[in-house]
């Protein structure tokens, strides 16, 4: 690489040096002398035009008179301009310019490159990266490989099945939902696929259980009436629809299956509390885990949950920073940061949302009102 760099630099310096060395003696002719040449060429041209019959005899005579008039003026000017050129100042100029070419040009170029360039980063064409061995590759690279494979062979249900949960982990719930749908179509429905597809749809929809997600959970329950997760989401749907009685019944029904210590059971109790139903904490099971264990498990679940939210927040934040997004996405990010209690960052995001959505008054109003709701309004 440095050979190519040096080659270019030498070429650049030569572009300055060679003409300096070559045309040392000839002095500049005065501009008026050059004028005279142009006029003489014009006279010849008139003659050629006349021969080809492009202009009439009269026009040619008139044109010649006109040119002759200018030629005389140019000749007079040339006599006036014909003065000698001193040589000493010229030698100094020559040295200065030679120094410029040999020293300043290479140093400035290489200095600036070292300041701004990234000589240690190689080219990374996509094809080469995808063909490289699978070892020490990042998750996104693997995803890209599977995506390329699926673009060629979209009927590979296994591929979709593998890809879908990875999408979820990368914070791409819409893609995850689509991948689950493809896996279901190709490999047939099962409880987990239907449930996970529904969950992906819920996450993609800011936590709201849409009709499509609802249908997925129902299919899952039909396949396995005992499954907890789909029932959990169906109860959540009832809560979101404000069907209080039905929701309470569903949550309580779900709680019956709790053995104690499950993270989801705690979530169910919180939901019930929100609906105004007090539940006794799970009875001490005879051979169950200790209170401390439960606490630890809960704590761990909360941490894990926190970590998950945080990674999703980071992903969303980066995406919004890089190429903007919809109003809903900005609002989602603000809510998430409020949940994490990261007020400094929340304030920054509010400011950035204001900047990004400044052309959309309706969106701005939404951002402002949510900011006020989250206690950051001004």
């Amino acid at each position: 690489m440095w050979i190519a760099f040096s080659l270019l630099t030498v070429l650049a310096a030569l572009a300055v040096l060679v003409p300096l060395a070559r045309s040392g003696r000839a002095q500049a002719r005065a501009g008026s002398a050059h004028d005279a040449e142009v006029y003489k060429a014009q006279l010849d041209e008139v003659g050629r035009d006349l021969d080809r019959g492009l202009i009439s005899q009269e026009a040619a005579v008139a044109a010649r008179t006109e040119i002759a008039r200018r030629l005389i003026a140019a000749d007079q000017a040339a006599t006036r301009d014909a003065t000698g050129e001193p040589g000493d100042a010229g030698r100094l100029r020559l040295r200065v310019v030679q120094m410029l070419a040999v020293v300043v040009v290479p140093l400035a170029a290489i200095g600036a490159y070292l300041a701004f360039g990234a000589p240690d980063i190689p080219d990374q064409p996509l094809v080469a990266r995808l063909q490289a061995s699978t070892q020490d590759r990042s998750l996104p690279e693997l995803v890209a490989r599977v995506e390329q494979h699926l673009a060629k062979d979209p009927e590979d249900g296994r591929g979709w099945d593998v890809l879908a949960p990875v999408y979820m982990r990368l914070g791409r719930p819409e893609d995850a939902a689509a991948a689950y749908a493809a896996a279901i179509r190709l490999l047939g429905p099962d409880v987990n696929r239907e449930t996970d597809r529904g969950e992906a749809l819920v996450v993609a929809n800011n936590g709201i259980v849409s009709a499509e997600a609802h249908a997925a959970f129902e299919r899952a329950v039909k396949l396995d009436p005992e499954a907890v997760k789909p029932r959990f989401f169906l109860a959540l749907a009832l809560t979101q629809e404000n069907r209080r009685e039905a929701a309470i019944a569903a949550w309580q029904d779900l709680l019956k299956d709790a053995r104690g210590g499950e993270a989801w059971a705690e979530a169910v109790r919180i939901e019930l509390a929100k609906l105004g139903v007090e539940t006794a904490p799970a009875g001490e099971p005879v051979a169950g885990p200790s209170r401390e264990d439960v606490k630890a498990a809960e704590g761990m679940a909360a941490d894990e949950r926190g970590a998950m939210i945080r990674s999703m927040v980071d992903g969303l934040d980066a995406r919004l920073a890089a190429d903007g997004g919809s109003t809903a996405e900005w609002l989602q990010l603000m809510r998430a940061l409020a949940v994490l209690g990261d007020t400094d960052r929340l304030r920054q995001v509010i400011a950035r949302a204001g900047e990004a959505l400044k052309d959309d008054p309706a969106a701005l109003a939404q951002v402002k009102s949510l900011a006020r709701e989250l206690g950051e309004g001004s």
Binding site: A4, L8, R22, A62, A108, G117, D123, L126
Partner: protein
């Protein structure tokens, strides 16, 4: 390594541009031939280096190298190959690189083909070109470097703005930039003349072809942009008086004026000082356009950069170049010798009138473009200056210009005879009147303005034809000699005729579309059909199609005329998946010179769709006229003769006419 080599080449080009700024100008001013001789090879090397940088960036795009930030932001691996290449200049940084590449190309062209230019003029010109190049390279390296890297590299890019994923992107920006940047060389010539304190014969001889070249590309670039907006945006409009369009139109108006004043200067040695000023103004308007588009002052598909630092930087370049060159003009212009007297009624006089009207028109567009921006900046009040303003100011300025157009080429240099020229235009006037009357008769008297517009277009077109025929002098020399004379006419004569006829053809298209267009907006369901003009369109329903990086809802229309099926149209509503952005793909069918234009709006659940339907009579003439103008420029460019416009002795001309 290729990318880093490109980055290094770009930096080296900047350093070399600094050398090009100083050394040749120093040589020219102090009369040192050795220093002057540095200019051409350095200009050539400059082009080579920027070319390497451009090739390196293109390579990164083609191979989807997502370790380059610019590629991540503007490309996608699933994008078709053509758009991977055009995507290089479909963004702020890359388009700036293309801009500088063309700047360097023009410098290299002057270096290569400018052996006849006096050495000091050539050196000073290339030096000034170096100033412009250095300023833009500094801007690029400081605020908009396309070679910034990301590590670790992401696996996928954000894709190119879908509106730009079109063949138009391959043609429109390069043409337009060659036009814009081409005027830089004329600007450099003008500044060089001011620096050297003289406008000599070679100056006059060299400015015209360069102006012509830039003007030709600008004309074609604007026309291409207009056609692209017409088929891509889905509203069937070809010109919106949008500030970005105006930004390209102002240099065109000033450049057209420059083209004409350069003719006077080349042939008669008159209007030198004015031509220098026009050269400065034309490029200043090009720079202003760059500023408007890239500073974030405007929001549009062209507004790539909305970084305030970039805006400030460009504003700095703008102020330095426009302010500096005008100050230099004020200081040095009185030194330039005026030449060539002429009577008011003469070819020169007609060209002065042309210059006045075009300049005032450019000013009116400038006011209409800048006034709302200034008002918003000062008072926060948003107003929109739309077509009504331009129709009221620009329109009336064009009418006298077009009326005078056929007279100009027929007038003699230095002193003309208006009455004699009018006599020769009787037939043309008759044809124009006939065109007006026929239109009025066919379309009814309520469209009398349109009829007059058609008449004006006929006047301009027939005037151009009459001029070329009168040069052949069929009446005096008979048919066969006349034909051979016609064949032997100089390219510049054909260029004039084609350029003027092109304007008339474009005008005819504009008038026809504005006055006689039919528009229908409706909801249509499969199996239904709708009538427009003489045509009936039967809707066959919508189908979904998957493209490489988009999903299409394609509607199918069978077009019938008089019961027989004559064509099909497949307009589409397209969703680009990476950016989740919809675009419309209009279905356009050309019948002769007219077009049927369908675009799909909302798609309904029952298979129906909202459509916009137009019948646009003679619409293609708008762009065909531009092609004819461009053809005129080509013909004229091939006319490499030296010219002299000698006044014809009045007596002899009369004798010849008898």
């Amino acid at each position: 390594m290729i990318i880093e080599l490109g980055h290094f080449a770009l930096i080296l080009a900047f350093v070399l541009a600094l050398v090009q700024c100083v050394v040749p100008v120093w040589g020219a001013v102090s009369g040192d031939r050795r220093l002057m001789a540095v200019a051409p090879p350095v200009a050539g090397m400059q082009f080579l280096l920027v070319g390497i940088a451009f090739a390196a960036l293109s390579h990164a795009y083609v191979t989807s190298d997502f370790s380059v930030l610019n590629v991540v932001e503007n490309s996608h691996s699933a994008k078709p190959d053509l758009y991977k290449i055009t995507g290089v200049w479909g963004n702020h940084e890359g388009s700036l690189l293309l801009w500088v590449l063309i700047l360097a190309l023009f410098g290299a062209l002057v270096a290569a083909f400018g052996r006849n230019i006096p050495a000091d003029l050539r050196a000073a010109t290339l030096g000034v070109q170096g100033w412009v190049t250095a300023a833009f390279l500094l801007f690029m390296l400081a605020t908009s470097n396309p070679f910034l890297r990301v590590s670790p590299a992401p696996m996928e890019g954000n894709d190119l703005n879908p509106i730009l994923q079109d063949v138009g992107l391959a043609i429109h920006p390069p043409l337009l930039y060659i036009g814009y940047v081409g005027f830089s060389i004329v600007f450099s010539f003008a500044i060089a003349a001011l620096l050297l304190g003289r406008v000599d014969a070679a100056w006059a001889r060299w400015v015209r072809p360069w102006t012509l070249l830039a003007w030709m590309f600008l004309t074609l670039g604007i026309a291409m942009g207009s056609y692209w907006a017409y088929y891509e945006l889905g509203w069937g409009g070809y010109w919106f008086w949008d500030p970005v369009e105006n930004a390209s139109f102002m240099p065109w108006l000033a450049g057209t004026a420059l083209l004409h004043s350069a003719i006077v200067m080349e042939k008669r040695g008159a209007l030198k000082v004015w031509t220098v000023l026009l050269a400065i103004l034309t490029f200043s308007l090009s720079l202003l356009g760059t500023f408007l588009v890239r500073s974030g002052v405007l929001t549009s598909v062209h507004a790539f950069a909305t970084d305030p630092l970039r805006g400030t930087f460009i504003l700095g370049i703008l102020v330095a170049f426009i302010g500096g060159s005008l100050a230099l003009y004020a200081w040095r212009a009185p030194l330039l010798k005026q030449g060539g007297l002429f009577a008011p009624v003469s070819r020169e006089g007609a060209l002065v009138l042309n210059n006045l009207l075009l300049t005032v028109a450019a000013v009116s567009v400038l006011v209409g473009t800048l006034y709302p921006l200034a008002l918003e900046a000062l008072t926060d009040e948003k107003i929109s200056v739309g077509p009504p303003f331009f129709n009221l100011t620009f329109g009336p300025l064009m009418v006298p210009l077009l009326i005078a157009m056929p007279f100009g080429p027929l007038l003699a240099w230095k002193r003309g005879d208006l009455a004699a020229v009018s006599q020769r235009l009787y037939a043309v006037l008759g044809l124009a009147l006939a065109a007006t009357l026929v239109t009025a008769w066919a379309q009814g008297t309520e469209k009398i303005l349109a009829a007059l517009g058609v008449g004006l277009a006929a006047w301009v077109i027939c005037g151009a034809v009459a001029e070329i025929l009168s040069r052949a002098r069929f009446r005096d020399v008979g048919l066969s000699t006349g034909l051979s004379r016609l064949y032997g006419l100089p390219g510049s004569a054909w260029g004039t005729a084609l350029g003027h006829a092109g304007i008339g053809i474009t005008l005819l298209g504009i008038v026809a579309v504005s006055a006689f267009e039919e528009e229908k907006v409706l909801t249509i369901r499969p199996g239904e059909s709708v009538e427009i003009g003489d045509y009936r369109l039967a809707f066959g329903g919508l189908a979904r199609r998957t493209g490489p990086n988009y999903i299409d809802d394609v509607g199918h229309f069978d077009i019938y005329r008089g019961g027989a099926k004559v064509a099909e149209a497949d307009p589409a509503k397209r969703l680009y998946t990476a950016r989740r952005m919809p675009t419309t793909e209009a279905g356009i069918v050309t019948f002769g010179l007219s077009q049927i234009y369908v675009s799909i709006g909302e798609v309904h659940a029952d298979g129906g769709a909202d459509i916009r339907l137009y019948h646009k009579p003679l619409v293609t003439l708008i762009w065909l006229g531009c092609l004819v103008m461009g053809g005129g420029a080509v013909v004229s460019l091939f006319d490499r003769r030296l010219r002299v416009g000698a006044p014809k002795p009045a007596r002899r001309q009369l004798a010849a006419a008898e």
